[in-house]
């Protein structure tokens, strides 16, 4: 076996792992690094459950090859909270009951985070299109959309202290 050595920053931690060259970044995060927050729902980029942020860009980790991460920066749901302080989106998802089974939740949180970083005051329609790459089969999206809008309002009002302990 001829494996590739990858060094990257994951959630502010310098991380090294070995991977196969054709291994997806998703498999590497889950199997080599042990970060199982990103899920595989489809393996073809159609469900968004594996959404992560690579070098500042929201992507489906199932569609990236693991060696592409070399020298890069990765954010996953595991790094979303600031220590014990949840990100306002996490708080909002909990308070709005935006998750039922919860398997799609990490992907939605990453997609919503990417949205709000680019557009702090999205309309409902903008939220719906921004999370259209993330499938949820439990909720009908209603409470997810409300949570994203709620978190956005919270973050506009209180950009620093938006998170709760």
């Amino acid at each position: 076996m001829n494996r590739t050595h990858v060094t990257c920053m994951i959630n502010d931690d310098e991380t090294e792992f070995l991977c196969d060259n054709d291994e997806s970044l998703l498999d590497a995060l889950r199997d080599e690094v042990g970060l199982t927050g990103a899920k595989e729902g489809c393996g073809t980029g159609d469900c968004g459950a594996c959404s992560i942020i690579l070098n500042g860009q929201l992507i489906c980790a199932c569609l990236a090859f693991a060696p592409e991460a070399n020298g890069g920066t990765i954010e996953t749901v595991e790094g979303m909270a600031d220590g014990d302080r949840l990100h306002p989106l996490q708080t909002s998802f909990l308070e709005e009951a935006s998750l039922q089974c919860g398997v799609c939740t990490p992907g939605f949180l990453m997609a919503a985070k990417a949205l709000l970083e680019n557009n702090p005051d999205p309309t409902e329609t903008e939220v719906r299109y921004a999370i259209a790459g993330n499938l949820c089969r439990c909720t009908g999206y209603d409470k997810i959309v409300r949570a994203v809008l709620g978190a956005a309002a919270q973050m506009r009002k209180n950009p620093i202290e938006g998170a709760r302990p």
Binding site: T4, D20, D22, G48, P67, E68
Partner: protein
């Protein structure tokens, strides 16, 4: 399988020549599902995203140059591009989800050569050219000469697309793109239509290009529709001719995404709507950038 990330076009060319079973890629958004579906794994994967020339949008000397591996999320929002080619911007913004758009590229969309590729009709109505690199240097050909059939392109195995070149549009010229999908997002176009119109001061059409996607083995131009537009005002009569001509140019198949009858009929509908949209834009913005 080896993975390499060259930093220059020359490096990529020599890598491509070094291994017959090699494959260039940018976003891999088509490649990965194809490999899962049984496409043989290449021995060498050449990641083009490390070549600066391939991942930028630049504007100079009246030409817009888009690197072939530039994520369409950049193409979608680039101010110069949006002003000059709003239809290309909107077709870029229709590919998959935000996650996909952060990876997918114009080069990939073209070379995957799907009949339903969203950006090809927009590139065609803007008479875009592609710069193709190989060990012999580069050559430039029209986008319309690239795709030869579903999944097949005229490029040789040791060639790859470096960038797209679009000339600044004349005054009172604008493009638009519309596609039909059953949902609002995440589908492949059942049928798509792009148009670019130039209007004179009396809002009469002086130049028109219309292309239809997903309704034939490759994206097709609709010359009869274009002729119907040229020299005429955009009125019900012209639009009826456009609809009929756009439907007539289709040679669609029936598949899991739609029937041939549906594609033919809706191609006409989209052609009409996209002509109206392009005309509206041409009137509003004048077209010069």
């Amino acid at each position: 399988m080896r993975y390499v990330r060259p930093g220059t076009v020359d490096e990529a060319v020599s890598l491509l020549n070094s291994e017959p079973e090699s494959c260039v890629f940018a976003g891999a958004t088509d490649l990965v599902p194809q490999m899962q579906g049984g496409r043989p794994e290449p021995k060498l994967m050449i990641d083009l995203k490390g070549i600066p020339r391939l991942v930028k949008v630049s504007y100079s000397n009246g030409q817009l140059v888009v690197g072939a591996a530039t994520p369409v999320s950049i193409v979608k929002v680039d101010d110069n591009l949006k002003a000059a080619f709003p239809g290309l911007s909107e077709s870029s913004g229709l590919i998959g989800s935000d996650q996909i758009q952060n990876r997918a590229s114009l080069g990939g969309n073209l070379c995957t050569a799907s009949p339903g590729a969203d950006t090809i009709p927009s590139l065609m109505v803007n008479s875009a050219r592609v710069v193709i690199a190989s060990s012999g240097g580069t050559r430039t050909i029209p986008v319309s000469d690239v795709v030869t059939g579903p999944g097949s392109v005229s490029l040789k195995s040791n060639e790859f697309v470096v960038e797209f070149i679009l000339d600044a549009p004349p005054k009172r010229t604008a493009d638009a793109y519309l596609r039909f999908i059953p949902r609002t997002e995440m589908d492949i176009a059942v049928v798509g239509a792009a148009a670019r119109l130039t209007l004179d001061d009396a809002d009469c059409c002086t130049e028109a290009l219309v292309a239809i996607g997903a309704a034939a083995p490759t994206v097709v131009r609709a010359p009869v529709a274009e002729n119907a537009l040229r020299g005429n005002p955009i009125n019900d009569e012209t639009l009826a001719e456009v609809m009929a001509a756009a439907s007539a140019v289709c040679s669609p198949i029936s598949d899991k995404r739609g029937t041939k009858e549906y594609r033919r009929q809706v191609a006409g509908v989209l052609a009409k709507r996209v002509v109206l949209q392009a005309a509206k834009r041409a009137k509003e913005k004048g077209g010069a950038v």
